[in-house]
Structures are given as C-alpha cells and as structure tokens.
Amino acid sequence: MLRPNDTKGKLIVVEGIDGSGKSTQIDLLYKWLLSKGYSVYFSEWNSSALVKSTTKLAKKNQAFTPATFSILHCTDFADRWENSIYPLLKAGVIVLADRYAFTAFARDIARGNDPHWVRDMYSFAFMPDAALYFRVPLDIAVERITGSRAKLKYYEAGMDLGLSDSYEESFKIFQGRILTEYDKMVDEFGLTRIDGTLPVKDQQKKVRALIKQILRDFEGLPNPDKKPIIVENPQAFKKRKKGGK
C-alpha cells in the first residue's frame, strides 16, 4: 500500500477518467498557489524524459502487453518520484500531480492485471495529502473527448484489449471499466470526490477551500519571487542539444 507522507512537503493529486476536467482544475490550482507565494512543483503522468523514448517506441509498435504497459508506466513514475517528487517534498515544496498511482490502479486493472500486484508495485510512493477525484458520468466524458480531439489513440482507446473493432466503441467500454475501478477506490483510499459536471469556477472554489484546509499551519519552502520550479533532466537536455532542436 501507499506510505504516509513523512516529509515537510505536501502532495496533492488529481484523478479521473479522460475528459473529467481534472487537468483544467489542477492548472488553476497551480497558478493560484504560485501567486500565493508557495513553492509549487507540477508533475504530469507519463512525462519522464528518461523513459519517454521507450514508451514512445512501444506505443508506435503496439508492443505493450498489459503487464509491460503497467511496469513501464510505473518506471516513468519512479523516475519522476526519485528525481523530482520525493526530493522536492523533502525540501518542503507543494507537489501537484496530474494523475498519480490511482491512474495505474484503475487502468492497469481494467487491462486485466492483478490488483494486488499493481498496488504493491507503487508501494514506494506516498499516500497524497489530498487526492481529488473528478467524477463525470461516462457519456459526458466520452463526448468531451471524442468531440474535441481528432483521433483516439490505440492504447488510450484500449484497442489492445480487443473489446471492439471500433476505436470509439472500444474507448467507451474501456473508460467504463476504468470508471468502475475509480469508484471502488473512493472508499479504499478515501479519495475526495468532486462533481466534474459543475461549472469550472464552482469546482475550483471547492478545490481551493479544501486545499486551504490542508495548508493551514503549513510553512513550506519560501518562494518570495513566485518562481515556478523546473527540474531539468540533464540526459534529456543533452539529447535535445545533440538533435539541434
């Protein structure tokens, strides 16, 4: 299971199926916290520079199985955990994560992996101080995604599971499974449910009220210049320079 946070920092995560509006909410939260003078770091799911080339290649070649999909996404998380999230929490930073271990618990299990196996794999990470779960009914989320984006991607639509030949149909079934897993985790992990069908502003009000409570008496690392924190991976940096971009 997830360990308790024993650092001076605070860990706040948002969760929800695609199209739940969680990224919009965490972005607003990020800007607000920064403007208040907190040291804030933002970490996104599947964004490790070290693991990126491997994930990209596997997606392109459709080479993932449910197990390797799961382990490699945990590898990505572990790299962000070891190189940024954990040390920054130790330093007293507020770390915001757009998707966290719960995404793996929902998705990897919807793909047929063993629930205990996936949970054990992430047991090096902390239970967040706040885990906000943006809940929207399936049809609304599906409409938001299929209406706004050009084309669903293979793994995003769960095409590897052979649920349907149609990307859209497969996406619906797959997202439905993920939604079921999320709903189960509300009690298991005490996720805070926020109604993702409410107007953006109303949702943000609830989010801020909640976070205010969590940050009561919180000192944290000072940030007098209100500067964002960027963690460069020197290896990724070197690569980019080599490529001339």
Binding site: T54, L57, P66, I71, W81, E82, D120, M121, K239
Partner: protein
Amino acid sequence: MASSEFYGAGFPYRDFGKLTGKLIVLEGTDGVGRTTQVDMLRYWLEEEGYAVADTGLTRSELTKSGLDAAKSGHTLGPVTMSLFYASDFADRLENKIIPALQAGFIVLSDRYFYSMIARDSIRGIDKNWSRDLYGMALRPHLILYLRASVPSLVQRLIHGRGLNYWESGMDLHMADNFYDSFVAYQTEVIKELEELAREYNFVPIDADKPPLEIFEDLKRPIRLLLHNRLTRSERPF
C-alpha cells in the same frame, strides 16, 4: 494454467495453456562464465535432439535502447532502474520464453530475476517489494547456480573483458578504484545470491573449476530433469 506455475499472479489476463517445454536458468554473478556455459549447453542439447532457445538479461526489443541510454547517465535512480529491468524481464518472459515453452522448447535463461533482486537489494531496494514485483515470473524447472569465489572472478575478468563500471558497483561509491570496488561489490552480490539460493532452491555448481569440468557438472542435473529424475531438493518447487 495453474497459478502455481508462477511465483505470484503471473499474467492473469492470459491463458497460456499447457507449457510442454522446460525452463532452465543459469544464475551466477558477473564474470562467472554463464554465457560460455549457455553456448556449450545449447550445442550439447541440440546434438541430443532437443529444440533449444536461449535468452539473457536486457535483450528485449522493448527496452534495450531506452535502458542503455538511461544507464549512460547519472540520473537513473534505484527504483527506476529496478522497474526498467522488470519491464524488460516481463517482455521477454511473455513474448519469448513462454511461447518457446508452449512450443516444447528447452529454454536456457542466462540469469533470471534472482540476480536483479540481489543487485537491487544492495542498492537499498526492499526485498519484499522485489519479490512481489516478480510475482509475474514463471517458476523454472531447474535453477543452476554457478558459485565462484571473488578471486577467481577477478582473475577471469582481468584476463577477459575487463572490469566495468556496473559490474564493479562503482555507482555505490564503495571504493575509489574499480578493483577494490569490484571486490567489495561482488562480495555483497554473492552474499545476496547465497541467500536467494536457499530460498529458491538453486542447484549449486562449483564455478572455480575449469570450464569443461563445470560443463560436465551442469549436464548432470539437466539430464536428470529431462528424465524426470531430479530429487526434491533440486527442484525449484
């Protein structure tokens, strides 16, 4: 498939049917001569008429380039490295080893996940976490453990491919030079492997002997396995 064929949950989303082949693992630390022995065993088994497939650590198409790049820098953390190797392991197991076993091959695995647990444990990774992670692993039919002393490893490597950064555990800052670091690190690795040998029922083979004698010692338990005559203490389960 009965789940007892796996150490843990295996790959619960797939039914592999009956695995008619045999999985034989060669374990042992760096420079112990595993690769040479795998080559000789393969030749021997093929001559005897068996279909043989071999596989080693980090040879998966999925992770090879990414893992090489990650290891070339200094930002690779121990948990990340451990998981990277586990991805590779799962990929080879699911896409190479198991299909070969379905087809009735003898699979010779140059190492298995035990070495990875040993190496990770020295880098501060919780052993229970590692064991859970490798719950997807298939139980081999036979685990041959090439047991060598550090002086014989040093002798073999210095006259062979040389001491390298990872095999010397230079990332652990145990010493200021490759030789002292190699000795300190490999002593730790061997200690861990000895512990795993008891836990997982490795069949120990004295690897301080000359390669041809080791080869003969390896053939004996393999013959027994292929004729279903291994004793209980020689079977991994």
